[in-house]
Amino acid sequence: MKMQFWGVRGYVPTPGAEYLRYGGNTCCTALYGADGDLVVIDSGTGFCQLGDMLMGREFGRGGGKMTLLISHTYWDHILGLPFPGLVHIPGNRLHIYGPDSTRGSLEMVYNGMLSPVYSPVYGLAHIGATHSFQPISTEPFMVGGMRVRALPLSRRNHSPIWAYRVEEANRAMVYITDVRYTNDQIWNQAVQFAAGAQVLVHSAPYTRQEQVEDYGHSRVEDAIELAQEANVERLEIFHHAPTRTDDQLDTLVSSYRRQLMDEESPLIFDAAREGLIVDV
């Protein structure tokens, strides 16, 4: 199983020279199974770039198939969906899983996002690809040779936020975003869910030292502690803050790596970069 980042920025896309190396597109991560199956987690603007790449494959001819897992429906995780050409080509199949909110089902949220006041698509009915929406549950399911597990780890107001674990051939990738570890129960659930994963992709836009007012996210230090406690091999922090430049991320990465080396921690620490391929 290979993983590739297509969007690693949080909150809002950040085009600009100072963000180019890590990338300015919002959340989108792709997993390619050994048999060629495709699982995509979140559809921020990174989904547009992924979509352009996929047009060169079966998707360009209307024969593509993808499973899209949505963590939650905030802008930076869903807004990229309607733009790539592949979603408008009949024959392509999109299986979309994600949480219903107490304000409406996942399908209703996407349909609202595409309503004419916000989008020239005029609603889901006009998406040309075959698409299905399925409320996510904790029941594991298979996508080709990949096994997907999901966990409702936290919630914000009306929106539950789900974490995903994708496994193939005894290797696992875990994706946790937009969570604040406000009590031991959430922490323990996360440790259990991430246990023994080869790669943990975890949102961490700020460090503890920065003391930024943001109630929806844990800090870089939390992600590191979680990865260590769960015996994760490699941590990729993502959902980078829009103000975080490439140079700042470089500095941040080397400072935490040094710290981990001093502690003799075996954890591999990295900040996710657009385009980066990780062999899980």
Binding site: Y74, W75, G112, M113, P116, P120, Y122
Partner: protein
């Protein structure tokens, strides 16, 4: 009048090396006249504009945000605009009046659960919504005159003219041409070949075009939808965007000083936009100055350089 361009891209923001020069942020233009601060559209460029305003010695406390329409690329920067969270600020938001939903509700719904964790009531700035329509002329801060017209875009959009201090800027980021597809609130079904227009549609299109030309008449600068190449337009006439040549035709007829190609296609690289611009310039036989808007571009008239 000072005009600064913070976002030029259409449809969705693009963060790519080969698009840096024209820029990947979606539509946002700042207009300053004396103490007045007017912002056209709230695309992703608005975030950096907010930061720049914060760095000013005396940041404007009243901000007039004029929105052409509420498609995502025109509002996505709004929650990341710092001045909305500062209690001393007054933000006037202007946009199209609709029977389907109030402007306030459209913005509020986009910002709130389950799409975002923000409630308009929690924002610290004083926020006032003004629902306007086409064919309007009104004053802002006594010294600025704003006129509106209707652009030919799915679900309708506004076009703005800002006049002050002997200068005029016209902003039409999203409009299709006026010879065939008439956009209104209903979706246009595109079957691959144009359906013949009724006489009534052709009259409505001609009228809309006349209003647009009138709005742009004699302006110093016309910022105009130039998303498409001719080949793209042929494939996507139902998207409500113009070609660069169609933009030039309006600019020439309205006798504007300078045309700024705008709402760049998210797939067009700097090199492609350069080529579109060059083609437009070399085939131009009028006095019109033709440029392509880029992020960081500044235009001035009648204000002392600081």
């Amino acid at each position: 009048m000072i005009v600064r361009i913070w976002g030029t891209r259409g449809s969705y923001p693009v963060a790519r090396a080969e698009m840096l020069r024209y820029g990947g942020n979606t539509t946002c233009v700042e207009v300053r006249v004396g103490d007045s601060c007017i912002i056209l559209d709230a695309g992703t460029g608005l975030r950096q504009l907010g930061e720049a305003l914060g760095r000013e010695a005396r940041p404007p406390r009243t901000i007039n945000l004029l929105i052409t329409h509420t498609h995502w690329d025109h509002i996505i920067g709004f929650p990341f605009f710092e001045p909305i969270s500062q209690p001393q600020n007054r933000i006037n938001i202007y946009g199209l009046q609709r029977t389907q939903s109030s402007l306030r509700k459209t913005i509020a719904n986009a910002l709130s659960d389950p799409l975002m964790p923000i409630s308009l009531e929690d924002l610290r700035a004083e926020m006032t919504f003004h629902e306007i329509h086409e064919g309007l002329a009104f004053q802002l801060d006594t010294q600025v005159r704003v006129c509106t017209a209707r652009a030919n875009h799915p679900y309708r959009a506004l076009a703005y003219r800002i006049e002050a201090d002997g200068a005029a800027l016209v902003f039409i980021p999203d409009t299709g041409p006026f010879h065939t597809v008439l956009f209104d609130d209903e979706r246009i079904e595109w079957t691959g070949s144009p359906t013949p227009n009724t006489d009534e549609e052709l009259r409505a299109l001609a009228e809309m075009r006349a209003q647009i030309v009138d709005l742009a008449r004699g302006a110093d600068w016309l910022i105009y939808d130039s998303q498409f190449t001719d080949a793209q337009y042929t494939r996507f006439p139902h998207w409500g965007h113009s070609t660069a040549a169609q933009a030039r035709e309006i600019a020439e007829e309205a006798g504007v000083g300078q045309l700024l190609m705008f709402h760049h296609d998210p797939h067009h690289t700097d090199a492609q936009i350069d080529a579109m611009l060059e083609e437009l310039q070399t085939t131009c036989d009028s006095e019109l100055i033709i440029t392509a808007a880029y992020e960081g571009m500044e235009l001035r008239k009648g204000e002392r350089s600081s």
